[in-house]
Amino acid sequence: MPQYLLMINKRKWDRLDVPWLKPNQIQADPLGDLRINEGALSVWHIEEDKSNLDLVIAALAATRQNLDKFEYGLFGQEIVSSLDLKFQIIPGNSPSDAANGWHRDLIQLTADQTLNFVKAIFDSLEKHRLYDDEVQTKIFNAIQEGYLDLHKVNKSLRKKITQL
């Protein structure tokens, strides 16, 4: 089953063992980690064989000003349909035209839907952290393979990449 990639702050999604959380409860932190604007949450379609994962990561990292760690989560697309959430295929704004085609917005999200969404993905979310050298490799590979236009990479980052 294909997945969606969601940019996250890994520590907000830790399973906490604290006395104030009852069994089957989760802390509210993940809710604050979702950047929802006008009811829309940005996610990226990832193929079942993850063949486009590296390019999506490179594309997202290339919108930043610096090389830095990159944290993301993957969740099954069936969760979106099981919660009856709406989504739209809207081109992304990364420096990769190829990757931009994989961008999606989960739309018309209400507070209740967002809460249910977080609860549904919390346990199964595959959480990953890449270090700057790994991110750098992915960006370089994407540029070399012609999928990422160096001239469209964030100016500040481009300067740093070309100096390496």
């Binding site: 890994k10 520590r11 999604w13 830790d14 399973r15 906490l16 063992d17 990292a61 930043r64 000003q65 610096n66 090389l67 830095d68 760690k69 990159f70 944290e71 959480k127 952290r129 270090y131 500040s156 980052l157």
Partner: protein, 195 residues
Amino acid sequence: MPSIVNSNAQEIVFEHELQDSSDYERLDTETASALKRNKSLKTDFLNIDQELEALFRAYANEDFEDGMESEFISEFVSCIQKYGTQAVEAVKRIILAQNVKPHMTFEALRWLGRINHPESYRSRLLFMEMCLGNPLRLVRDGAALGLASMKDAHAIPYLRKAIAQEKTQDLRKDLETVLSRLEKLSNATIPVDDK
């Protein structure tokens, strides 16, 4: 009144008893200079602490984003580069006093590992190794990220200990990743004959 005796066996008094310059005149030149420097250092000490505390306070509500520039980080790094080890000691005091929000401590620690400042290297390394045992998850994680950036095998035993004690599963995995990265680097630098 407590007093200390200098190497020339002259009895001198603590600097707080020195009210004005005439008091310094009672001392030998070397001792007077040392005390004046110490007093100046004490003033610097307070200023660096105050400067850093003000910095942490000013950006307490900042929403940090990976890979994006931050005025807090720019000023923090400048402070460390300007004051070196004294600034690192000040950061230590501030963080250990727990007057800083955990997410700011996280950012400060991971950037302490990224700074290129040889003079304060050891101080930063030792502090982050110590922070691996902090009660707060974000502090432990920030320290681990800082140590990952420093790429120093010295941190390996501290990471192993932290991993053995880590109760948060996901954080334990992240600590294991940092350990694995450092072990790989360490093995890569050991000549084959010495293994």
